[in-house]
Symmetry: C2
Subunit: 390 residues, 2 copies
């Protein structure tokens, strides 16, 4: 049910011809209220796409009644002309929505815009704007699945989630399959809820949730120009959860979507959890986990079903985390192949036949822990990313 | 001529059975003096192999008369037992060299040890020690080529260099094909010179040279546990160059070897120079160049002959260098595909058919510049590194 699982939301997904394949490429999510609360988290990349720059402003305004998303083009590195295209998309969406339901006046400043696809090319506006009108005509209370389909790029399947509170619900959709790295992945994500929540509560819940979910997946260490996660609140349930309750359910939704993103990462044959324990701080644990997750030699070894723990230690050694090199323990799928920085159990005992891999690293430096999720580096990743724009 | 080009050095390379293939796997370089000066630069990885820990101590002592190097095993992550193996290798080499030429007493503390190969396994000492004795019997004034062969791992060819001063010479050999990243690459390098130079001059020259050569190649972003660069000075020419003269010639030798390393990087089909200009500082230029060099999406695009400049901008955007996103220019092989952060010349004009690629990034933030050298990410890299230890 995706973003339309909570009350107060309609959505649509349509094909406007942005994708050469003819697949759906425009999604629209509309919040029918009564509230129009919003929170957003955006890419930390300093090279930000036009829709990110626009939507950051819109979210700062505190009211979002519609999100229009397109695949088939990122509208990043497109200069002032690209920003005008985003602005025109918001204006057009606001005007067409107002025309379709005149009882509610809607301004461009209440329309968030997200784009994904190739960087550096202008969007074909003569196709995009009619596509928005088609999407408006298709808006439906059960449109969440269609919207999730329309934001896919190299994704092999749509990603949707529903998480329930007591009498209220969080729904969500996401896309992303490569260029996945914090903060954040090359991903777009729209979350919706019918809970009643003020802007500070929404913002706190979203930041707490993304910090331990989307910010801890790292497919290929590459940070995108377009990453956007939005949380829209309609208030339609009439129920106002506590911040802790809202955070828990939003986190559950984000965790589910993050795992779907990593599971569908480009060309991946392994889904890898890196559990770092015994860290002096959570930051240390995250730094170590991320260093291992980004190490091409670790990732290619796992693609080859090779429990090459020496490469894991070499990756840990590049961090500034607190540890002693001769105090490191490493287990791969439960076999402690390294104890005290040297070989321990026989690496041949490690079973890497399955898709799921767990690497456990004990730094023996404290009580903090964190998990980073990643995937292997395969021939298919190289193939897919050497042939994307041509 | 490699390390035996300068006067005062002998070398050998022999097969001791460390490599299953039966190829040469032990190299020995002996400095016959009259001087025995040394400088060294080592991996910044905190997980350091036993031979690195040993050789750092030896170099601190200021006198090195012999370097024994083995391929077929890195002796990294092998604990106290691995350190004992390195110590025993140095003791054995010193004793056997003294026995072979009793007029010069040689202590273990004057013997540097370098190892390369798989991390996490003990070296087969019953093969290694007899190999050292065989190498001593084979020491020759023209043994540089054989020594360079014996340190190869996944290298497809030996790397040697000779650079001339006025009446004195620098020779060198290096190995390394993957796990190439600063500081430093997975590399071993022995440089020799017959110049007369004190320890401070040797150290200054070597640090200045590696800073702009080995520290600016980045094959796969992975930092090794074993990287070692040694500069040995025999003084046999009787000529004492200035520090600037020595630095220039050592830099030329290091540059030549660094380019050979990148040219032979595992599975590479492209040799890529990333010229960053208009930077506010050299550090900024290096940070930007390295970020692009480590971006898997840029590297796979180039493997696919795709001038995907948007991925280059996305990589630049992850740095903390001074620049304005809408002030970035990027050229690929001379075609300015991006001006002011947006598309400029048609990307179809870029000719990527050849092996050499130059990416030029103008940050428009100052007058500093730096070049980082890297290679593409290919199917062959994935293949080679998914099947290395098994």
């Amino acid at each position: 049910m995706s973003v339309t699982a909570p009350r107060g939301f309609r959505a649509a997904g349509v094909a406007a011809g942005l994708k050469a394949s003819g697949a759906a490429d425009i999604a629209l999510v509309v919040n029918d209220g009564p509230d129009a609360g919003v929170a957003g988290v955006f890419t930390a990349n300093r090279v930000k796409a036009a829709p990110v720059l626009w939507t950051q402003q819109v979210v700062r305004g505190g009211v979002v009644r519609a999100v229009v998303l397109n695949s088939g083009g990122a509208n990043a590195c497109t200069g002032p002309a690209g920003f005008s295209d985003t602005h025109a998309t918001a204006e057009h969406t606001a005007a067409a929505l107002t025309a379709s339901s005149p009882r509610r006046l809607l301004g461009a400043g209440e329309v968030a815009v997200c784009s994904t696809g190739l960087i550096g090319e202008r969007l074909p506006m003569p196709k995009l704007l009619p596509g928005v009108r088609t999407a408006i005509r298709g808006l439906a209370r059960d449109g969440g699945a269609a919207a999730a389909e329309a934001i896919m790029t190299t994704d092999t399947r749509p990603k949707t989630t529903v998480a329930n509170g007591s009498g209220w619900t969080v729904g969500g959709m996401a896309k992303g399959a490569g260029m996945l790295a914090p903060a954040m992945a090359t991903m777009l994500c729209v979350l919706t809820t019918d809970a009643v929540a003020g802007p500070d509560t929404l913002d706190a819940a979203l930041r707490a949730a993304t910090r331990v979910t989307f910010d801890r997946i790292d497919s290929d260490g590459c940070m995108s120009t377009n990453d956007t996660v939005l949380l829209l609140a309609s208030g339609a349930s009439g129920i106002g959860p506590t911040e802790a309750e809202l955070t828990a359910v939003v986190t559950a939704a984000c965790h589910d979507l993050a795992q779907q993103l990593i599971a569908d990462a480009e060309g991946a044959t392994k889904q890898i959890a890196i559990d770092v324990v015994g860290a002096a701080s959570e930051d240390d644990a995250v730094e170590v986990g991320r260093s291992v997750a980004r190490n091409n030699l670790v990732k290619t070894a796992l693609f080859g079903n090779d429990p090459n723990w020496g490469r894991i230690l070499a990756a840990v050694g590049t961090t500034s985390a607190a540890f002693e090199p001769d105090g490191l323990d490493v287990a791969v799928n439960g076999i402690w192949v390294c104890r005290a920085g040297a070989a321990a159990e026989d690496r041949s005992k490690v079973d890497l036949a399955g898709r799921d891999v767990t690497i456990r690293i004990d730094l023996h430096a404290g009580d903090a822990a964190a998990t980073i999720w990643t995937n292997d580096l395969s021939h298919a990743y190289v193939h897919e990313n050497s042939a994307y724009s041509t």
